[in-house]
Symmetry: C2
Subunit: 311 residues, 2 copies
Amino acid sequence: MSSQRATAFVPGHVTAFFSAHPADEPAVAGSRGAGVTLTDGVTVRVSAPAGETDAATGGDGGAASDGPGSRTIDGEPGSIGAVDDVLAELGARGADVAVETDLPIGAGFGISGAAALGAALAANDAFDRGRSENDLVRIAHAAEVGRGTGLGDVVAQARGGVPVRLEPGAPGVGELDGVPATARVEYVTFGELSTEAVLGGDTDALTAAGEDALDRLRADPRLPTLMDAARRFAREADLLVPEAAEAIAAVDADGGSPESSGSPDDLGAAMAMLGRTVFALGTGLSDAGYDPNVCRIDAAGARLVDERGRE
Amino acid sequence: MSSQRATAFVPGHVTAFFSAHPADEPAVAGSRGAGVTLTDGVTVRVSAPAGETDAATGGDGGAASDGPGSRTIDGEPGSIGAVDDVLAELGARGADVAVETDLPIGAGFGISGAAALGAALAANDAFDRGRSENDLVRIAHAAEVGRGTGLGDVVAQARGGVPVRLEPGAPGVGELDGVPATARVEYVTFGELSTEAVLGGDTDALTAAGEDALDRLRADPRLPTLMDAARRFAREADLLVPEAAEAIAAVDADGGSPESSGSPDDLGAAMAMLGRTVFALGTGLSDAGYDPNVCRIDAAGARLVDERGRE
């Protein structure tokens, strides 16, 4: 619909483990692995300037706009590279784009991927570009990979739930499955960690550990196995930061993990890849005395939302 | 999690158009086409008998249970063939299964597919069977195809939104895309229509019309094109029943379609395949004086729900 204004919500995504699979073509590049999408996420609002919603004027490179529109992040001026690339691809650089999130930025929640995917969904709607869902996910994935800010968040965020990335890449190239589950999620963040620095270095050990973790989860696609594989991955890939190790141990000591508790709802904690963030399924972090943010596994994945509330 | 009790919600699905692609292997059989998933759907509650949740006892044919548990549909005793087949496949025939829906049965909303998929998700959780999402969708799809009650509802209901079935079959075989959209949905039902009778007859003309409709939607994946393709499909496939033709014409005459109204929110009405049901995107049916049920496009697709409400 040519609505001129559109809003999309994209869940946050914490990666439990991954292996990196770079490639020259951005739609083919990506990661294998698994993670958890969150009901805490990113909302992207896109407004098309008057006269910019004719489908005939764009979709092939951004020639339709004289210059970029406004860009804000949580109300302050600010732009995200992958978002700009998505808008250029959709001929929507003239859009006003507002990105809002309660999640901490740079802490392993896939904010840049979520913003890129939300911008793709909302700009497609506001500018009436007539792209399909797979096409929009591919555009956002390629923008994220091209900027070096992520490899697997976009396809995971598009699916929702507990996505398992069986094969890397955009829709039509990659392949997804999921762990069927709903759960409470708690998380605490201790600061930023650069995705680009880790992904730009030697990733051989990381990839071996990630492939092992994926094999284990495919053999037993359940949440306890996901969390156990995540903890082992962080150690084997040498990515565990001290604050995260301390929090994971505190959850374990307090009975908040399946090894130390009789309750199947206590699934322990793990470190979000890549961020100085620890997430727990159940109440492990709050039981251990932390003051975590609380949300749930997001069942839906990325979606347009109707803020006019028509029913 | 070995919860012993589990609940799943699966959206209703109205098919706009389709082509039938039978095959000897149920996971390969299916349909191409497109439709709309609904926030009105089917809730399936599964309870495992005591001692039945050990993963070692089942998952390979139902030998774990002495006999079938209770089966209800909207509180009355009743069973659905595809649900029984799903439970047998998961070694969960001893489960008590309650299917509840506000949707009319036999009217084109994919109730049997939704019940099969909901039973798969809930039984996997209650019996701790450790199957992946793709595996559960495949099991439900195969059961539905095996019973002859549907070809494409299950994979569409698993995805949610406005699913486009590019290639027929279960996950790993078929291929999906989607029309990115949110909208109000209205529907009215005039009675039952047998899916088995239509799918069992000569489907050549139907399949040709369905392939044409899919080509049109792939070239322009927007809601107005979906609804226009659906109306043309119903005529060309000779499936339009008189009550549906009358309601669609009434919506059109009242300005509730894009051809007769200036509003992009009025997208007209079409007949649900296969049922004596007309659905409209927007307010076309209520504007035309009908008293429709009202819901929205479901963004999430099939999911486990936590009825304990932990947050």
